[in-house]
C-alpha cells in the first residue's frame, strides 16, 4: 500500500515551521510524523498527515509550495532488530532509500518506518509483500489514533 508524504519548501527563517503547523492545526489535520532537512538558507519540511489531499490544498491556499510524494509506511516490530530486518531486506534487493524516518505506533510492539524509495516503488512493495511485512496507506495512517490512545 502507498502512503502520501507532503514536502513543503521552506526558507530557513524564523516562523516557517510554526506557520506550517499553525495551518494544519486550523485545518484540523493530524500530523503522524514530521522531519526537517535544511541546506544553508533553505530546507524541506516533510509531513505525514491523516488527510494528505486536504492538507495540501490548505497549505497551497496559504501560498506555500507543496509537493506530494508517494512513500511506503512499513509496520515493523518495536524491539531491537526490528528496523534492521527491514533495512537488510531492502539492501539485499538493491533498493535505495532516499529519505526515511520512523515513529512508534504501540510502544514495544509496533513502529512505522517511512521510506522514500523514489522510482523503486513497485519493486519495494513486492519485496515487502513477499516478506509478509505490513504497509499502511493514508486511510490506515489516519486510523492509527484510536489505538494510540488506547495504550494510555
Amino acid at each position: 500500500m502507498i502512503a502520501y508524504q507532503l514536502s513543503i519548501f521552506a526558507e530557513d527563517k524564523p516562523g516557517r515551521l510554526a506557520k506550517v503547523t499553525g495551518i494544519l492545526k486550523k485545518g484540523k489535520i493530524n500530523l503522524r510524523a514530521i522531519t526537517i532537512s535544511t541546506s544553508d538558507t533553505f530546507g524541506v519540511i516533510n509531513v505525514l498527515v491523516d488527510d494528505p489531499e486536504g492538507a495540501r490544498s490548505i497549505l497551497e491556499e496559504a501560498g506555500l509550495t507543496v509537493s506530494m510524494k508517494e512513500v511506503i509506511a512499513v509496520v515493523i516490530e518495536d524491539r531491537p532488530g526490528g528496523l534492521d530486518r527491514l533495512v537488510q531486506l531492502l539492501l539485499e534487493n538493491g533498493i535505495n532509500v532516499g529519505n526515511a524516518y520512523g515513529f512508534v505506533l504501540e510502544s514495544r510492539k509496533k513502529a512505522v518506518f517511512v521510506v522514500d524509495v523514489g522510482d523503486q516503488l513497485e519493486k519495494t512493495q513486492r519485496v515487502l509483500k513477499e516478506a509478509s511485512l505490513e504497509t499502511l496507506d493514508a486511510k490506515a495512517l489516519s486510523a492509527i489514533e484510536p489505538f494510540h490512545y488506547m495504550n494510555y
Binding site: 541546506s39 538558507t41 533553505f42 509550495t65
Partner: protein, 432 residues
C-alpha cells in the same frame, strides 16, 4: 499594414529634412521656456544657428537633474492654460519629474502609440486589456488612448487582481494585452492555479511588453506559455511615455519614430557620439512637443542602433532591446554588472521561477553579492538534493558570466518584493 504609410516608409533624406525643419521649430519653442531661454543666452546659441541635423550637438544635454532643479514649471514653453494633462515618473530617487502636455501633445503621442499597435497587427476588431497602472504613470493612459484611436474595444483593467484579470480575458474574449513582463510571468502561475490554459481557453494573440527591460528568453517564455506574439516597446515619460519605439512584426529591434524624435547614441563617459551600431546611452530630442520641449535628453538607457533597413519597409531606425540603465549598473569588485545580464542567465536555467533579487552587502572590505532566486512551483519535488543542485548550477552559471561568485539563496515562489507591479531587482546595502 501601415497606420501612416507615407510617414512610416518615408525615404531617409526626406525624413532627415523633416527632422531638421521640426528641430528648428522645437528649438525656437524651447527658447521661450525659463530653462532653455537662460541656457541659450548663457552659451550664446540662437535658434537660427541650427542649419543642419548635426547642429543638434551645439545644444547641451538635458538631464533628469535639470528637470528636477526646474521643477515644476521651468521647462514650460506655453502658458499654463494651454496645458491639458500632466504625468509624472515614479521617483525612486529624489523628487519625481513632471511632464506637461497640451492637447496637441496628447494627440501626437496618441498617434504614435496607435501607429505602434497597428504595426503589430492590432485592429478595431481586437479586444485590448490594459493591465497597467492608470494614473500619473504614462503606461496606462498612453496605451489606452492609442488603442482607442485604433478603435479596439478597451478593457481598462489596470494592474493587479490576477484572478479577475484572467476572468476578464475569458468573459470578454481579450485578444491583446499590455503587461509588465515580470507580471506576465507571475500571472502564468495564477493561470495554472486556476486550471486555465491561455492557449486553449483564451483568444490571446498579442502582448505588448513594456515598462521593464527584459531578456529575449523572458519574451520566449511568455510567448510559449500564452501562445501569442509578444512585442517589446520602449518609452519614457520625458519623451511622452510608451510609443517612443516599438517592435514591428519582425521582432528584431524597436523602430524609433524619428518623425517625432531625434535619436542619438553617445558614449556615457565621454558624451561623444558612438560609431553607428555601437552601444551607448540613448539621447533623445522631442520634435513636436509644444508644452514642454526637451532637447538632447540623456535617457540613461543603454542600447545601440541596429544598422541597415528593416524587412518591414519602415525607414525609421531601430534600437536594440535596452541593455540596462547607466544608473542600474552595479560595480562590484571593479566589475561592471547589469541586472539584465543576471536575468538572462537565470531565465536559461530550468527550475528558476519568475522573480529574482540582487542584494549587495559589504563584509569588511569585501563586496558580497547575494542573489535571491524564486524557485518554480512545478520544479519543487520535495527533494532537498535537487534544490541544492539547482542552487549550485545558478552559482556556476552566474560565475561564468559575471566572473564573481555570488551567494545564491533559493526562496519560495511569489515572495520577492514588487513595486507598482514592477519587480524590484537590486537592493544595495553597501552605503554607510
Amino acid at each position: 499594414m501601415y497606420w501612416e504609410k507615407d510617414i512610416e516608409t518615408i525615404p531617409r533624406e526626406k525624413l532627415e529634412a523633416l527632422q531638421l525643419a521640426r528641430l528648428k521649430e522645437s528649438v525656437a519653442k524651447a527658447s521661450s521656456s525659463v530653462f532653455y531661454g537662460d541656457l541659450f543666452r548663457k552659451i550664446g546659441l540662437d535658434p537660427n544657428d541650427i542649419t543642419t541635423l548635426e547642429d543638434v550637438r551645439k545644444i547641451p544635454f538635458t538631464t533628469k537633474d535639470d528637470l528636477r532643479d526646474h521643477w515644476p514649471y521651468g521647462f514650460l514653453a506655453v502658458p499654463k492654460d494651454d496645458l491639458v494633462r500632466m504625468h509624472s515618473s515614479s521617483g525612486t530617487t529624489g523628487r519625481a519629474t513632471v511632464i506637461f502636455h497640451t492637447l496637441n501633445d496628447i494627440n501626437e503621442w496618441t498617434n504614435i502609440v496607435a501607429r505602434s499597435m497597428y504595426m503589430t497587427g492590432m485592429r478595431r476588431s481586437d479586444v485590448f486589456q490594459n493591465i497597467m497602472t492608470y494614473g500619473l504613470f504614462t503606461g496606462g493612459l498612453g496605451f489606452h488612448y492609442g488603442a482607442e484611436k485604433v478603435g479596439a474595444l478597451i478593457i481598462p483593467a489596470g494592474s493587479g487582481n490576477s484572478k479577475r484579470q484572467i476572468q476578464l480575458m475569458q468573459d470578454f474574449g481579450t485578444t491583446a494585452i499590455h503587461i509588465i513582463p515580470s507580471y506576465a510571468l507571475h500571472l502564468s502561475s495564477v493561470f495554472e492555479e486556476m486550471g486555465v490554459d491561455p492557449k486553449s481557453d483564451t483568444q490571446l494573440a498579442i502582448a505588448f511588453l513594456g515598462a521593464e527591460p527584459h531578456s529575449e528568453k523572458t519574451r520566449e517564455k511568455i510567448e510559449q506559455f500564452y501562445g501569442l506574439k509578444a512585442y517589446n516597446s520602449y518609452g519614457l515619460s520625458e519623451m511622452d511615455g510608451p510609443g517612443v519605439a516599438f517592435e514591428c512584426p519582425y521582432q528584431n529591434g524597436m523602430h524609433v519614430w524619428e518623425d517625432n524624435f531625434i535619436l542619438e547614441v553617445v558614449d556615457p563617459d565621454t558624451l561623444e557620439p558612438v560609431a553607428d551600431g555601437d552601444g551607448g546611452e540613448l539621447v533623445m530630442t522631442t520634435l513636436l512637443r509644444e508644452g514642454m520641449p526637451i532637447l538632447r535628453y540623456r535617457t540613461k538607457d543603454l542600447t545601440r542602433i541596429i544598422p541597415g533597413p528593416c524587412e518591414c519597409g519602415r525607414t525609421h531606425r531601430r534600437i536594440e532591446r535596452i541593455k540596462g540603465r547607466t544608473d542600474d549598473m552595479l560595480i562590484l569588485k571593479g566589475v561592471n554588472i547589469f541586472p539584465i545580464q543576471i536575468e538572462k542567465k537565470l531565465m536559461d536555467i530550468p527550475g528558476v521561477g519568475t522573480n529574482f533579487l540582487i542584494v549587495l552587502e559589504r563584509e569588511g572590505f569585501n563586496d558580497l553579492m547575494i542573489v535571491k532566486v524564486e524557485v518554480q512551483k512545478e520544479f519543487f519535488s520535495g527533494d532537498l538534493k535537487q534544490l541544492e543542485g539547482l542552487r549550485r548550477r545558478i552559482v556556476e552559471d552566474l560565475k561564468s558570466d559575471i566572473l564573481i561568485t555570488p551567494k545564491v539563496e533559493l526562496v519560495e515562489p511569489g515572495t520577492l518584493p514588487k513595486s507598482e507591479g514592477k519587480a524590484v531587482r537590486v537592493i544595495d546595502n553597501r552605503e554607510e
